[in-house]
Amino acid sequence: MQALYAQLLVGLINGSFYALLSLGLAVIFGMLNIINFAHGALYMMGAFCAYFLLSAGIGYWWALLLAPIAVGVFGMILERTMLQWLSGLDHLYGLLLTFGLALIIQGVFQNYFGSSGLPYAIPDELRGGMNLGFMFLPIYRGWVVIFSLIVCLATWYLIERTRLGAYLRAATENPTLVRAFGINVPRMITLTYGLGVGLAALAGVLSAPINQVRPLMGENIIIVVFAVVVIGGMGSIMGSIITGFALGVIEGLTKYFYPEASNTVVFVLMVLVLLVKPAGLTGRAA
């Protein structure tokens, strides 16, 4: 029984990464209608950014702020120079473009840094762990859960409950009308893409001390995260947060009961959900 509690908690930790990443994807899809396949590569860039900052003498705490901004700006440049020309076209074009971008970005990093990865130490303040009775919880992992939960809820609040969020949602419904009210819709869309990308980079920084910083770190996780988004319902903010955490827990339990299936269970769930509710658990059918 104790082991089960431990696995639930570990699942929650992985769930935080799924939630942060799928949240960014959901924001981008909801607002820009782009299926952002470059998300994994941008997550990886966030981790590398933290590594570069560390080499330059700037530690983890600043990296949490600076890396998402830097990668976010990179994302906005991508949106301005490439993605914006695809608005109004079929989803497939955006998907192919971002997929190509992901391959290029990963290829460039791999060329310079190989594939083994680079070490990134846990910051001194978050070292060590607590004995919870049923398991030894590394403080850093606890921090990841709490911090990402706060970020997820803040993003949800920003989009669903503030005036800015209302503009955003309105702009996706009817951009022409919103422009008529004197709001710069293209700029808002660029900023939204930057926000989604920034969330991916933030997840990258958070994961740097746990996993290694390596060029292909986003390649596998992105597929799982897409499954999370599909299960949660494309474009649904709260749906992707909840599904992210929930799937982390389910995956954790699978690792305990039947480890061989741990990297397929998410997709089995996705198939089941698509069969029963094609729009996802929280999505509305179009």
Partner: protein
């Protein structure tokens, strides 16, 4: 018109006859295929570095100056046996490749092993670990150069059991390699009076090991054996440190660890790990000289891993056999037989031999990862703590199930 056709036919026959004559006497062309994981979790320990090692072997053999024409092509098997065999088939059928080198990933290596046998090529494996390549699944066309799961089990495994680590829990990569390594290590543990308390099989290329580590922790085994490799091993070790596993008194046995892995983990976390390799760049003047030349040509300045060193040494021995044959007969079994009849002697692995089952034998070394304060230079990572002699490091022929031995 008729005469013209007749003449050209005659000419064509003459040309092809002369070409045939050259091929049977002194054909001095060789084509090498370096097949590896070029971009995934094993790319840094093999990959482009293995192709470079092959290139250096060609240069150092001095054969081109003697009129040989040697080409190298490389391929990416992406750790998928089906892709690996497809490339191998195409190389033999279309590219006329004579020898395939490297091939890390035991699953791919075993599959390619069959293709090479079918096409009567030569397979000099360096990267794969499974001892089956020269045991149950041995082939007259294959030489397994660098190390195998038997070496790892009898190096690291035996040393740890003898040091008091008599209860084990395995974290095993769920494919041919992990299974072979767990099997060979278990045999050593049991033979030395130890016990295996349990284990979990994890999928290849896993990012998060915390669930598995918690199970290992709960088993209360004294030693947690890592029957995995590359990125999987580095992730396990890093996360084990995070969960306080080593501090809690359990020991990690990284059964297969490469220098690139130590670099990725960082000395701070990796210090004190014990493991077995058959090559380290800083062993003697000859290895240092080769490694310096090698690192200068690597993009990230990395010294050769034992796998890359094995590609070099294996090819050097292959060239020796070709020279002894006086030309390339394009007959895999014949060349491999020659390789078995000449004793091996190269600057990287020293003196040894290729046994009748295709196993190249040489000493193996037990290393310990240095403390950060002991490391004086980049890549100065290992302390030598013991040597396993060549006859102890590999499966004794009397225990081998290889069909070639029953002739």
């Amino acid at each position: 018109m008729k005469n013209q056709i007749f003449l050209s036919l005659l000419l064509g026959t003459a040309i092809s006859l002369s070409a045939l004559g050259a091929a049977s006497a002194q054909d001095k062309t060789v084509k090498i295929g370096a097949l590896s994981d070029q971009s995934g979790l094993y790319a840094d320990l093999g990959g482009p570095g293995s192709t470079l090692a092959a290139q250096m072997a060609v240069e150092d053999s001095g054969l081109t100056a003697k009129g040989w024409k040697i080409d190298i092509i490389s391929g990416d098997h992406q750790n998928k046996p089906d892709i690996g065999t497809a490339i191998a088939r195409q190389w033999f059928d279309v590219e006329k490749v004579d020898v395939i080198v490297d091939v890390p990933n035991s699953g791919v290596a075993l599959a390619v092993n069959n293709v090479v046998k079918e096409k009567n090529g030569v397979f000099i494996n360096s990267g794969a670990a499974t001892s089956d390549l020269t045991n149950a699944q041995c082939s007259p066309n294959t030489v397994h150069w660098t190390y195998d799961t038997y070496t790892l089990a009898h190096g690291t495994g035996q040393a740890l059991v003898k040091a008091g680590g008599d209860t084990w829990f395995f974290l095993t990569a769920d494919y041919a390699f992990g299974a072979a390594l767990e099997r060979d290590t278990t045999a050593v543990i049991l033979a030395n009076g130890g016990k295996v308390l349990g284990g979990v099989k994890h999928p290849l290329n896993t990012a998060d090991f915390s669930s598995f580590l918690l199970q290992a922790q709960a088993s209360k085994a004294k030693v947690i054996g890592l029957a995995n490799a590359g990125g999987d091993t580095t992730n396990t070790i890093k996360q084990a440190a995070e969960f306080g596993i080593v501090k809690g008194g359990q020991k990690l046995a990284a059964l297969l660890l490469f220098i690139t892995d130590v670099k990725a983990i960082g000395l701070e976390t990796a210090q004190g790990l014990n493991f077995t390799e058959t090559f380290y760049w800083d062993m003697n003047d000859k290895t240092r000289e080769f490694s310096k030349k090698f690192a200068a040509r690597m993009k990230n300045g990395a010294p050769p891993s034992m796998v890359q060193a094995g590609v070099y040494a294996g090819l050097m021995h292959y060239f020796k056999a070709l020279e002894a044959l006086g030309g390339n007969p394009h007959d895999g079994v014949k060349v491999v037989d020659k390789m078995k009849s000449i004793p091996t002697d190269d600057p990287l692995f020293g003196k040894g031999e290729v046994q009748p089952n295709g196993r190249a034998i040489h000493p193996a070394y037990l290393f310990e990862v240095k403390k950060p304060s002991e490391s004086k230079a980049p890549w100065d990572f290992y302390k030598l703590v013991g040597t396993v002699s060549a006859d102890q490091a590999f499966t004794p022929l009397s225990e081998s199930k290889c069909a070639l031995l029953k002739k």
